[in-house]
Symmetry: C2
Subunit: 246 residues, 2 copies
């Protein structure tokens, strides 16, 4: 069943905003009586029925579901701004499917691309849309938030979490294999974790020292070199496996 | 350091084939004395030095490394042929980085695209190249093999393994959460695992029954719906976490 996020209180009349209305009526060719899943402002999933198509599309709730497809911990990914336009889009789409709560792009020392101030908002709006449609498709209860951060100091100041880790290639090269699972084993339901990833050229050792000095733990993601867009996806799958399937 | 796969015995003279030679001399602008990593026919990594550039590029081994970046188990992914051209490419690139041994595309009941016989070889050759370059970049010791399989029966007959699993959405929907980790916990070094994934529309229940009747175990990959190209990547990260980091 098609799923839409609608920021409306379940006690109120549910009028579909323009975009989901267009999708439901034109793309999905829904008719009066068609049932859809909606996630309302309370982050619960409801089954609702289309009861009017014009002048606005209206839905009536028929059932509240207890489904929850969210990870037991909230995961904030912080990714050094990658070189191409495609990589942030891939990271956002896949990390949304895999359960991320928030995805922050930050300007790292070796970031080659820079998000100029006048284009930032447009970039974030575009990535936020990708997150929304991936959240609908993967049946999430939440849409991850997309944010931008000017520099590492600001990132470390503004993004507190129960645990903070950085994926550090050198950890893996030194044959370190248990730091990630140690961090995961201490996580409790409701905890939060910030995971930091470098851009294409990797993080500098200065950046990693600065992180370590504020308590961010270096972790390896195995013996293979992962591309900048693959590392956060590895992390998301690993934390899902460790907290949902183990 | 740049890494190349060269199918030459380490006791023989190492002449770079045309493509890596072009890459090393033209793209990387290497000069006599430049050092590279090469993986030779014995699947070991060597440090080698460029000793001649014309008429052919020759390398001399200076050191044998004991690096092994391969998973302790061999993983064969079998993916229902996806709809678009981009998805097999993404699966191959990312699964190579994440350590897969072999990637088979098979014609599933709900596969919308079909690889016509006269185009198959070209498609496989193209995907094999993507695997090779991803293997170089991620510092693998092996290049995964790309294969194609006409139908499920053939897949089940031809691809034997220590364990065989299928990612089945319905398992996840029924709240099954431990089948995957049970399978992983019984794996020993040197074992093999075949993991099967559906195309965009998913597998049919007939297909899953046929698999189950030959001993393939249904496993869930968590509560979120993963796209056809995301599920194998989740699987690869989870098996790396379970066998390399836990």
């Amino acid at each position: 069943m098609q799923r839409y996020f609608i920021n409306v209180d379940p006690a109120q009349e549910i009028i579909l905003p323009q975009e989901p209305a267009h999708h439901l009526l034109k793309v999905m060719r829904a008719k009066i009586g068609t049932r859809v899943e909606v996630v309302l402002a309370d982050q619960y999933v409801y089954i609702a029925e289309l009861i009017a198509t014009a002048p606005v599309a209206k839905l009536k709730i028929t059932q509240k579901l207890s489904n929850n497809s969210e990870l037991p911990v909230s995961v904030v990914l912080a990714c050094g701004v990658p070189k191409t336009k495609e990589k942030p889009e891939l990271i956002v789409q896949k990390a949304t499917e895999l359960g991320a709560t928030k995805i922050v792009f930050f300007e790292a020392a070796r970031s080659i691309s820079h998000w100029q101030e006048n284009k930032r908002e447009r970039k974030i709006t575009r990535l936020q849309k990708i997150a929304e449609s991936a959240a609908e498709q993967s049946h999430r209860n939440k849409i991850p938030q997309i944010e931008y951060c000017d520099n590492l100091t600001q990132l470390l100041n503004n993004y507190q979490a129960t645990k903070r880790v950085v994926a550090w290639e050198e950890s893996a090269k030194q044959g370190e294999t248990s730091a990630l699972s140690q961090q995961f084993q201490n996580l409790k339901t409701g905890d939060s974790i910030l995971a930091i990833f470098g851009p294409e050229g990797g993080l500098t050792s200065d950046e990693v020292s600065q992180m370590n000095s504020t308590g961010v733990v270096s972790v390896g993601l195995g013996p293979r070199i992962l591309r900048t867009e693959t590392a956060p996806l590895y992390f998301m799958a690993a934390i899902s496996y460790a907290t949902e399937l183990l």
